[in-house]
Symmetry: C2
Subunit: 134 residues, 2 copies
Amino acid sequence: MAADADRPLVCEWRDMLSLHARTWCALERELNERHGLGASEFELLDRLIETDKPKCRVQELSGDIHLSQSALSRLIARLERDGLVTRGMCAEDRRNIFVSPTEAGRARHAEAVSTHRAVLAEVFAANRQPLIVR
Amino acid sequence: MAADADRPLVCEWRDMLSLHARTWCALERELNERHGLGASEFELLDRLIETDKPKCRVQELSGDIHLSQSALSRLIARLERDGLVTRGMCAEDRRNIFVSPTEAGRARHAEAVSTHRAVLAEVFAANRQPLIVR
DNA sequence: ACGCATTTGATGACTTTGCATTAAATGCAG
DNA sequence: CTGCATTTAATGCAAAGTCATCAAATGCGT
């Protein structure tokens, strides 16, 4: 049994699990408390606004957001219900739908983006800290 | 707006999201198909067997496994239902419970551990690959 | 000893997610 | 054009997670 050989691999994975969990939870908490957004909700808005093309099929998004197609569909539905995005059908291929941020969506994102970046900076910095102790 | 300054931070986070999602999904799929275990289930068994102390309070585990206390409680319940761990009360402090792997649990873990390591090795290697292209 | 705050794990209610399926739209062979 | 496979997004349902709450056990001041 090559248990020792796998050690570094397993540690790397566990470190990642740990950092991921801490970061995700912190984002969830801060974004929710301060802006009424879930982490997934923000992530979608962030992508949507970054790639500012008016054309945005749902399926294109599913590559960026790491969710199943159905979860993504419901996520969009939630954001639509909250008035942060709109769903519109495409004239050329009426199977596709366009998802675009509303004005409210852009505003909410603009408001939340600094919180998002701050949390990232903080958690990642705290993670590197132990390496520089003393 | 210091958008550019945050760029590397955001990219790092997104890379992590991506790698984490791919790895977790691969583990979920492989462990489930080949050994009837979820990723969380394996993770718990793995920790449980690694720290072989007979004493293992639930709360000690919640630090390792990145789950809420309630989720952990239900995860243990599932594993118990499947006969992979046993819950036993502690004589000294009867609020605590011990969770220990059964023989079946040890066997299942032994069977699954190589799959787990292989998936880690594969996904992580694939992730580094792009850096060495050509 | 007693009362009360604290700790610990379990449970109810709800949310989010994934899988499987469905419905609609399109593409394409014949 | 017709019929059928394919693609795309939505939906029913069950699994799994979180938060808030609960009951039991303990600790501790008086």
